[in-house]
Symmetry: C3
Subunit: 245 residues, 3 copies
Amino acid sequence: MMEERVRGKRPLVHHITNEVVMNFSANGLLAFGGSPVMAKEREEVADIAGAADALVLNIGTLRSSDVETMIAAGKAANEKGIPILLDPVGAGASTFRKNAVRKITEELDVAVVKGNAGEIAALADIPLKVKGVDSEESGDSTDIALRASEKLNTCVVVTGATDIVAENGNYTTSSYGSPLLTQVTGSGCLLGTLIAACLTVEDEKEKAVLFAVEFYNKAAERAEANSHGPGSFAVSLLDELGGDV
Amino acid sequence: MMEERVRGKRPLVHHITNEVVMNFSANGLLAFGGSPVMAKEREEVADIAGAADALVLNIGTLRSSDVETMIAAGKAANEKGIPILLDPVGAGASTFRKNAVRKITEELDVAVVKGNAGEIAALADIPLKVKGVDSEESGDSTDIALRASEKLNTCVVVTGATDIVAENGNYTTSSYGSPLLTQVTGSGCLLGTLIAACLTVEDEKEKAVLFAVEFYNKAAERAEANSHGPGSFAVSLLDELGGDV
Amino acid sequence: MMEERVRGKRPLVHHITNEVVMNFSANGLLAFGGSPVMAKEREEVADIAGAADALVLNIGTLRSSDVETMIAAGKAANEKGIPILLDPVGAGASTFRKNAVRKITEELDVAVVKGNAGEIAALADIPLKVKGVDSEESGDSTDIALRASEKLNTCVVVTGATDIVAENGNYTTSSYGSPLLTQVTGSGCLLGTLIAACLTVEDEKEKAVLFAVEFYNKAAERAEANSHGPGSFAVSLLDELGGDV
């Protein structure tokens, strides 16, 4: 199974990510069998990305100067040929974020873009109501995934009660998971991290993405069964990431 | 009950807060039924605050440039008429923090200031021994609350074994809670977040504040009963925030 | 026992540390009986360090401007005579980090340097394979500890399955602990925090360090017995830090 290939390789995933979820993403990746490194100083990101197996770019608490840093890291990643996962957190919440994401997708070859319907719609310029960093699940998520995938010419994951993976005009859906995921900050960000880890052991991109989506959501289902609310659910989710699909 | 009105509205609370507690504050607000957004880039804070239902300003790991950012967000919040909750973490610990808090309270219309006795005393220029970001509970907390409320002309919450809510020369006390709260970093910050959420559904300010204080501390009492120490207490506290008062 | 002396003193430990572990370090210190303060604004760090009982410098998510800030805080700490614990996270992962650590050790009188074999080897210019912020445990850790201790002329702790404490050409080992510690981000950083706390109540440096190492790893053994994976282990570890050795 793919989780065993990840554990065997123990891929180093360089994160330039938001401050809210750093700890949860790092612990989730360790539980899953990967190795996290968080570094966002402009002077070192090319060195760090150049030594890594994958790069995660997450704009959750982006600062203005971070955009240039992400692009520097991303260029090192592209040069080395390691996958980049972009998580456009709250892309529709401000012009600043929208412009940042646009610049990142223009300058870098991104392997996978993952977000909720609102975030992906903002990327693809599809009008949609957005509330903070979370989006209402109105609109056709499948349509959003397909249009964004075509526009960005890459693999797009739209998360929600049903997760959609789209590329090259095709899409697949997956409907595992737990409603408690929406009550844990960074649960979507952690999925991005796990996708990045799976991309390091599987060349068939859609296969890697779907595996991560399914593995993570099944772990969430098991965690829900052991929990009394969102606090114990998050703890149990970390426990379950070391298990099997 | 007020917690149901919060869950029905799912208020978006914009935080400019410290890096230590971001994750816990976000998870606590999600558990309580609100929606957190963390953003501190000067270029976007007015957009984010302008879309939010409340704003939390917390100086726990303040940088020099954050003061201007907080004021920009606060002005957008004042213009829109949404409440601002100020948490002057460690206000007495350095001249830098004291000056920052002074500037924030001078430039903005703050709905509620919440802190421990030492922090509030620093704001109101009442001499008090302070140890780091926590203060000794010597001195008369009620007197501190009343004087600070008068001086700042706003609602002031002084937290401690007994919590005091003061405004317009009046005060109310509440004595629920758990000693384990003092062993969890950001437990006071999370209370500030919940107060901000309650202010979005209740115009009577003192009523909203007292509800949040009581709800939170009763949840802490239930959490203590289910815990074996500060680690499991913090987890259980998040679980309990989804319950009823 | 030393843990009781810490609880009696409740030492204030100033951290300039990485964003991934801030929350876990703060909660771990609170559970152990100390009082954390996190501050990294250049304008206030001398004030904060000057009021503290110990200083922890951790370069995990170091920014360029943080180096000067750490040195300013460290000079205040040296002037006051309080111990400095340096945690050179990922020191071998980039030239930037290596130079930063070198500058810090040159400018400051550091009481204890704590890291894994790769990090300490990078400090002492001993070639060793490094993977991200974690290092392969090849090479002779004892030799690395002794050489680094001699070169830096201070107490050095090399963590691993066996922990080594070296100073003045002598060394002691300790082999308690749990493999789950390697699956929790910041578990090593928290050990650094606890060492700093113990240094505030015990003048015999090696005694303080060994106590912290042993206490922490025995707590980890108890936590492992109560856990179902890395998530519940981390929670249980915090619970156990309030116990006895």
